[in-house]
């Protein structure tokens, strides 16, 4: 499980960074999205990995904290997802505006000669 998650974070992050370096705006936005997925998984993994334990207290007392998952990283991920979603949408609008104004999808408006 740890290995699968680590690989997922690594592959998503690596692909994201590579795409960030590309010169087209479409590649840029996909790269940013992949990176944000990998970051979200990373935040999640920072709350340790209790398998099958909910972050919600059971009725009738808290009991042993070891039985529960840490709820804070989960709420952090939720906030990060929402904010990432909004900023990606905003970026998409700017991308469309740049496409309309410059007539190309190069990040600098036009490719260098």
């Amino acid at each position: 499980m740890e290995l699968a998650l680590a690989l997922a974070i690594g592959i998503l992050g690596g692909s994201g960074v590579w795409l960030l370096m590309r010169p087209r705006t479409f590649q840029l936005i996909i790269g940013l999205s992949l990176l944000s997925y990998s970051v979200n998984l990373f935040i999640f993994s920072m709350g340790r990995f209790p398998i099958g334990s909910p972050p919600i207290l059971e009725p009738g007392g808290a009991g042993d904290p070891a039985n529960y998952a840490d709820p804070l990283p989960q709420s952090l991920v939720l906030t990060a997802i929402v904010i990432g979603f909004a900023t990606t949408a905003l970026f998409l609008v700017v991308m469309m505006a740049a496409r309309g104004l410059t007539g190309g999808d190069h990040v600098d408006g036009r490719p260098p000669r």
Binding site: L32, F42, L72, I83, A97, V107
Partner: protein
């Protein structure tokens, strides 16, 4: 703090949020109502911030206001915290917000959609970032102010702005991801994101966890430094600031200070003298990076031809100076740096506003304006321009020239204005590490480096500003005298008069800054107050 005063701390965050949300719902045609609401909101914010600063200054050595939202115990709930530094920055952001809004009244508010709402959200983000007491809410407020700044950067549209905005947004989105990685690593190691709680836990942290904590802090630092535009993370800054509309650029001069604030707060709180094995972490990097940024800024200032880029380059010098001063880690240097922060934010804001007025007499500026006017279908209002800018001021060139001179003196740090006092205070702190006339004057090599860089950058700024002034104010034989409205020059004069006021009242101002620096350098007292003042 007792009674209703206790709730004053939430005003700088809640008020712009509410006002901005109402503005979004209002129709774009009702810009006069929106402007009135905006001015009122910022004036209330300014009054609140001044009251908070007076309260913070009236208290003891570390005077701290703690506002637990939702009344949870401080270590678990969300808290706002106020000390002298946050109060100072709250005042500064309201002042710059007011200047930007006043400047936008004649023209810029109608050059694009939702100017007033964006300005309010921008101020909300800034104020929140200065007040918040935990790292995750710092992230949230950073995102609020960045999202608003994306809109502000693109205000007025046009190819140059959209192109620069695209780069600006992508760099900042990537930096925000680094921010998240850093925050989650720190949480993974320390188990808390509350700044005071973190500062309390770091000294007792087991040695095997320290590398991970320091890596997390370093990644977090990279995110802040990208926003503060430290070399080599700040190449996005000049094109974005130069392309932005003047009111947006004026408020952006505050935005790069947020990165500096975050670095200053966290380095001194988490890695101060009492933080055990991690003490002084990052100080050398900040010093070296700061000096590199100053030198890069000095070269850029000399290399630029046009005024907006010159202003952008002086942001580099300002950021670099502040970062290096934080890296020095001495109380007296930090005090001088806070004075410098205030003075340079005001001066750069005024300079960005002034530039458009000076360039209005030249054809280049007129072109850009014509394009934006056309894009928003305001082209037929051309003949109403007299009415649009309000009553033109007399002796335009003399006033513009005097303002330019003031900006040049402030940015270069020449006597008699506040820029000089700030630099003098920092240099005196570097040369007398144990206080004036006390202890052996052993200056670290990095101190000499900063001293040389500061003086060189001042010299470069003077050369560049003199050249730009001659070219733009004297050398154009056939220039038309720009028509400048009283409402447009008023914010520039306001910002410059505050700088002059800081010079005249340098004693009390510097005492405030030094007290703020002392409280920054005594983190254990800060931690104690946060943990005890909670419910």
């Amino acid at each position: 703090m007792t009674g209703w005063l206790e709730h004053l701390m939430i005003v700088p965050v809640a008020l712009p949020l509410i006002v901005g949300a109402i503005m979004v719902a209002l129709d774009e045609q009702r810009y006069r109502l929106k402007a009135a609401m905006g001015i009122l909101s910022i004036l209330v914010m300014l009054g609140t911030s001044i009251t908070l600063a007076v309260q913070a200054h009236a208290g003891g050595a570390v005077s701290l206001g703690v506002y637990p939202l939702g009344n949870w115990p401080t270590a678990f709930g969300i808290v706002l915290m106020l000390d002298r530094l946050s109060a100072l920055l709250l005042i500064l952001s309201s002042v710059l917000g007011l200047a930007a809004l006043l400047y936008a009244l004649p023209r810029w508010q109608r050059m694009g959609a939702h100017f007033h709402a964006l300005l309010q959200f921008q101020l909300m983000g800034l104020n929140g970032a200065f007040l918040t007491g935990d790292l995750f809410n710092l992230f949230v407020f950073f995102e609020v102010l960045l999202a608003a700044s994306y809109g502000m950067a693109l205000h007025g549209s046009g190819v140059a702005r959209v192109k620069a905005g695209l780069h600006y947004i992508s760099v900042n989105l990537a930096a925000s991801l680094l921010f998240l990685i850093g925050v989650s690593m720190i949480y993974g190691v320390a188990g808390t994101l509350n700044m005071a709680d973190l500062a309390a836990r770091i000294p007792n942290m087991p040695a095997e966890n320290r590398p991970l904590l320091e890596a997390g802090a370093a990644i977090l630092g990279i995110a802040f430094l990208a926003k503060a535009a430290m070399w080599p993370l700040g190449f996005w800054l000049t094109p974005t600031y130069a392309a932005a509309s003047p009111p947006s650029a004026a408020i952006f001069s505050m935005m790069s200070k947020v990165g500096v604030y975050a670095v200053m707060r966290l380095v001194l709180l988490l890695f101060g003298a009492e933080s055990g094995a991690s003490a002084g972490f990052g100080g050398t990097w900040l010093m070296v990076g700061g000096i590199a940024t100053i030198l890069f800024g000095a070269v850029t200032v000399l290399a630029t031809q046009d005024l907006p880029r010159l202003a952008g380059a002086s942001v580099f010098i300002s950021s670099g100076t502040l970062l290096a001063a934080v890296g020095a880690g001495q109380v007296s240097v930090t005090g001088g740096a806070l004075f410098y922060l205030t003075s340079s934010a005001l001066a750069i804001g005024a300079f960005f506003l002034l530039i458009e007025l000076i360039e209005r007499g030249r054809e280049v500026g007129a072109d850009v304006l014509a394009v934006t006017l056309e894009a928003f279908g305001d082209g037929d209002e051309e003949e109403e321009e007299d009415e649009e800018i309000g009553a033109p001021i007399p002796a335009t060139m003399a006033v513009l020239g005097a303002c330019f001179l003031c900006c040049a003196i402030l940015l270069a740090g020449l006597p008699p204005l506040s820029g000089f006092i700030a630099k003098f205070a920092m240099l005196s702190g570097i040369l007398n590490p144990h206080g004036l006339g006390e202890g052996p004057a052993l200056v670290a090599p990095s101190g000499w480096g900063l001293l040389i860089a500061l003086i060189l950058s001042g010299f470069a700024t003077i050369v560049a500003m003199a050249r730009a002034g001659i070219r733009n104010l004297w050398a154009i034989a056939d220039r038309t005298v720009p028509r400048v409205g009283a409402v447009e020059i008023a914010p520039v004069l306001m910002l410059l008069f505050i700088c002059i006021g800081m010079t005249v009242a340098a004693g009390p101002t510097m005492r405030y800054m030094q007290a703020a620096a002392v409280s920054l350098h005594t983190p254990q007292e800060y931690v104690r107050q946060v943990m005890e003042d909670g419910p």
